[in-house]
Amino acid sequence: MRYRRGLERDGAAPYIFLAPLLVLLAAFMIYPVVMNVVTSFTEWKGYGPWKWIGLANYKTMFADGQFWTSISNTALMVLYIPLSTIVTLLVAAFLREGIRGWKVYRAVLYIPNLLGYVLMGVIFSIYLRDDGALNVLIRAVIGAPIRFLITPVLAINVVGFLLVVFLHLGFGLIYFLAAMNGIDKEIYEAALIDGARFWKTFIKVTVPSIRFAVEFWVVFNFIEVFARMFSFIHTLTQGGPGYSTFTLEYGIFIQGFSKFKVGYASAWSTVLFVFCAIISIAQIRLMKSRDK
């Protein structure tokens, strides 16, 4: 953000331009976040009177198995971020080499991003169920279905793999290909003349040249894991089996909107808010280091 010094300010106009945005944000974001902290100290059903109960919600939360499952599930999904980064970078580098039909590949792999989490969640809930298409094939080969959405440890890994690695692939390809476009072509030509193979140029040229894009990609994935998973989980597993695919977001939904323990859900929300604040700080720092 460059700022011209020595020029007068623009008076009221900027505030008028910003007014609609700021009014909406005050009402729909700042107020809810502040109220959320307040209600986290109360027992409240989401309607009717509040009862002030101090830190009781937090005490309950830290003793709640569902809370810790949500935290460890989120951590598990974070572990998929390196895999997602490597796979996406590699496929983008393949496409950059002008593999025949690369535009078709890019378009087809983008379809999940286009359809969105809700449609993809429902589509995979049909595809992966015990009597679904994939299990018809698996049964033909190994004689028994793989219970992707019924076995707790499988279910959470399916969610992690699909959301972090598979669903973002098409988005990441476009993103990385655009970044790779900015690399000087002569470097690649020189590397070829030197007889450098794909792996060598990938590690020595491609990845270092788009370092900032890679870092943004990682931050983007953190945001997705912490703050954008609800729709996919809600349509794929609905948090189940049991609560084995809960994340903080899904837990907030169940506590607040299904059990009507809004005060308690708010305590979870406060934790989620802290995580998001940390991610946001990382993002802002990254932007500053890039702009230098």
């Binding site: 106009a13 945005l21 944000l25 087809v108 690649y188 794909f198 945001i223």
Partner: protein, 279 residues
């Protein structure tokens, strides 16, 4: 002459095969939905994976009318574009203010907006739905639209800010010397130049709002008001709904996003890179 390649002949084949496999694996779930949607309720259990033997449109008819998918599509097609227009207007104004104007607290406000662009919806959902009900907007399109525009504007503002920041300052100065007011500079000079970016922003807004679930789900509880996304999520939760019918509903819901893709692919590509990549 054949282009030099960093792959050996074998590696090249392996990469081609890997890519082909990747595409097949990612298309299979979609094929499965389309094929199931064309099978009768009786055929599906006996033929779950092959192409339909006696293709039928009865599932579509059921999903569109008894399942109200047609109504939901119309609802989305009315609400989302209105939301996009509001969103674009708000983001252009705010982006211009942050990108090209000078005022107190500019930096702090911009960081605040940036911070809000990553808020999880579930953090806000309780209070947002409460607020909408206080405004007597529960079950109204306006209620849903307001919640969407508020939630998605920070990111849109960020995109427009980076865009306006990179525009040459001389344009603003020249217009100023001609005596144009700030409002004229924005709407007659800057906004028209930003049209490709505005198209990109519109696509981003459209996709975000079209696919939005949590707020719409809480605000639009009445069946006749549901958006397509809410409708699909509710159908998914309906116990005992047959796969062919659910599949037909999914295919109906895919039509608009796919059309948008075919018509505006260029802007979608731009949208992915907007605001972030600069090497």
């Amino acid at each position: 002459m054949k282009k030099a390649s960093p792959f050996g002949r074998f590696a090249r084949l392996a990469v081609q095969a890997f890519m082909a496999l990747l595409v097949v694996v990612s298309v299979l779930p979609l094929y499965n939905i389309v094929s199931a949607s064309l099978k009768s309720i009786n055929e599906y259990p006996t033929n779950p994976i092959l192409l339909p033997q006696a293709p039928t449109l009865e599932n579509y008819q059921y999903a569109a009318f008894s399942g109200h998918l047609l109504q939901f599509t119309v609802n989305s097609l009315v609400m989302v574009p209105i939301g996009v227009v509001l969103y674009v207007a708000i983001c252009i104004m705010a982006g211009y203010a942050f990108g090209k104007m000078r005022f107190a607290m500019r930096r702090q406000l911009f960081l605040l907006v940036l911070f809000m662009s990553i808020f999880p919806q579930l953090l806000l959902a309780t209070q947002v739905s409460k607020l909408i009900s206080l405004m007597h907007l529960t079950n109204t399109g306006l209620g849903a639209i307001l919640s969407w525009v508020a939630y998605f504007s920070p990111f849109g503002t960020y995109i427009m800010t980076t865009y306006f920041t990179d525009m040459p300052y001389e344009l603003v100065e020249a217009a100023r010397i001609d005596g144009a007011s700030q409002y004229r500079i924005l709407w007659s000079v800057m906004a028209p130049m930003a049209i490709p970016m505005v198209a990109t922003l519109s696509i981003i807004g459209f996709q975000s709002m079209w696919n939005e679930l949590p707020f719409s789900m809480l605000i639009l509880q009445q069946e006749s008001m549901r958006t397509l996304t809410v409708g699909i999520a509710v159908l998914r939760g309906q116990y005992g709904l047959r796969v062919p019918i659910l599949s037909a509903a999914l295919v109906i819901a895919m039509v608009v996003p796919l059309l948008i893709f075919l018509l505006f692919q260029r802007y979608i590509t731009l949208g992915v890179t907007a605001g972030a990549v600069k090497g």
